[in-house]
């Protein structure tokens, strides 16, 4: 579903991604782990077609980036630590706006379904600026799944959430993954990633340092695996 070959990204003289290779099969939930500055967000922004690679190939659902970016975007749902929502519109209006941008059919019905999925039906007519951070993040997931994308990218979605809001977000993430979508999620939180992902990749110094599948590792060994991968790269 996602194939990345020898990806290089430079910002001026600084090289952030140094020949990164990455592959994800359909239906996989990959947690991309790594310290600050490892290149996680830069990598996800390239996958989301928000940033152009300096060199290397990126192929999502059979389409190349950046040449076929519009076709890729049609198949992508993106959630970042910012909600990408308009505070002066209601939850329902935000979803209607994004639904029009994506050309979603039967939009009113779909908006109702999505609001129910993220548990915001009763708050649908409230302005987003009155929402808590957790509620905004749930609505952000609703926005991202509105057009029923094949691939979902989550950039540290738990940032700034308290325990209850994180747990609620996890439930929505599990629901999203259970529907067979391919998911790539960056995170600092190993415990949370261990609960959700089917594969763990460690990104360090702009390359994937190590990768392991859930069935190949005990949850308690994830921290040792992570530290080992960082030391090796």
């Amino acid at each position: 579903m996602i194939r990345v070959r020898k990806l290089i990204k430079r910002f001026g003289l600084k090289t952030v991604l140094r020949g990164l290779d990455f592959e994800v099969d359909q239906g996989e939930f990959v947690a991309l782990l790594g310290p600050n500055g490892a290149g996680k967000t830069t990598f996800l922004r390239i996958l989301a077609s928000l940033s152009r690679p300096s060199m290397g190939g990126v192929n999502i659902a059979g389409y190349r980036l950046p040449d076929q970016a519009a076709m890729v975007r049609r198949r992508l749902g993106v959630v970042s630590h910012q909600p990408l929502l308009y505070g002066d519109l209601t939850a329902e209006e935000n979803l209607q706006f994004y639904g029009r941008m994506y050309g979603v059919k039967d939009l009113s019905v779909r908006v109702k379904e999505v609001l129910a999925l993220v548990g915001l039906t009763t708050r649908r007519r409230d302005l987003v600026r009155t929402f808590s951070r957790g509620m905004q993040q749930r609505l952000a997931i609703g926005r991202a799944v509105l057009h029923d994308p094949e691939v979902m990218l989550f950039d540290e979605p738990h940032t700034g959430l308290d325990q209850d809001a994180s747990a609620m977000l996890d439930a929505v993430l599990q629901e999203v993954a259970a529907r067979g979508r391919t998911v790539v999620m960056t995170s600092h939180d190993l415990a949370r990633a261990a609960d959700l992902a089917s594969r763990f990749d460690v990104i360090s110094r702009g390359v994937i340092g190590a990768s392991v599948k859930r069935e190949e590792i005990e949850p308690n060994d994830l921290l040792a695996f992570y530290r080992g991968a960082l030391q090796e790269t």
């Binding site: 909600p83 929502l85 505070g87």
Partner: protein
Amino acid sequence: MTIEQQSALPSESASGKAAGFLRAMGAVVWKDLSAELRSRELISAMLVFALLVILIFNFALDLDPATRREPTITAGVLWVIFVFAGTLGLNRSMAVEKDRGCMDGLLLAPVDRSAIYFGKVLGNLVFMLMVEIIVLPIYSLLYNVNLFNPGLLVVIILGSIGYVAVGTLLAAMAVQARTRDILLPILLFPVVLPVILAAVKASTGFLDGSEMSLIRPWLNLLIAYDIIFSAVAFMVFDYVVEE
């Protein structure tokens, strides 16, 4: 699904693309108008600023009544008001997109990015024209000048289109910088100078009842500027907003 199967999918027809373009553009306009109707932040800031400038000029130009009604003075003061109030609106309109990461949300949509640009232009144009509609009678009242001249209204519309077309593009560029509030006027005013010059000259011409042959070159300049800069913005907006 394999790459071969994907490439066998029918491509979107030209009419489908046009419909998608208009749908996305309409969605951006609807979103901007709905948010503004609710918050009234942008219009009220532009309007208060415009009214303050009218008052300041009223006291600063402490001239005799005849001089105050001079078409050159009237046209100059009006366009200073429109340009500065417009800059406030352009800055705010793009800041809303940047502050909560909404620009990324727009750029993630599978639409031609120039649809986003034209949606923003239309929204900004509506806000600017609304302010102008309110400013004209107030100015008329305070300065005792008759501004209800169809020719002047045409100039105001043409000038506003050119100003907003360039301003929206440059605001999208400036909003990426930390110093966006300062950067926009520095980028915008030199580029938009032909519009201001042509608009002031044409406005003066209509206010003092000049012959059409004297006004036409300035109107032609405004129309040419509107077309050229809308076309340039259409071509480069994608690169301006890309990281």
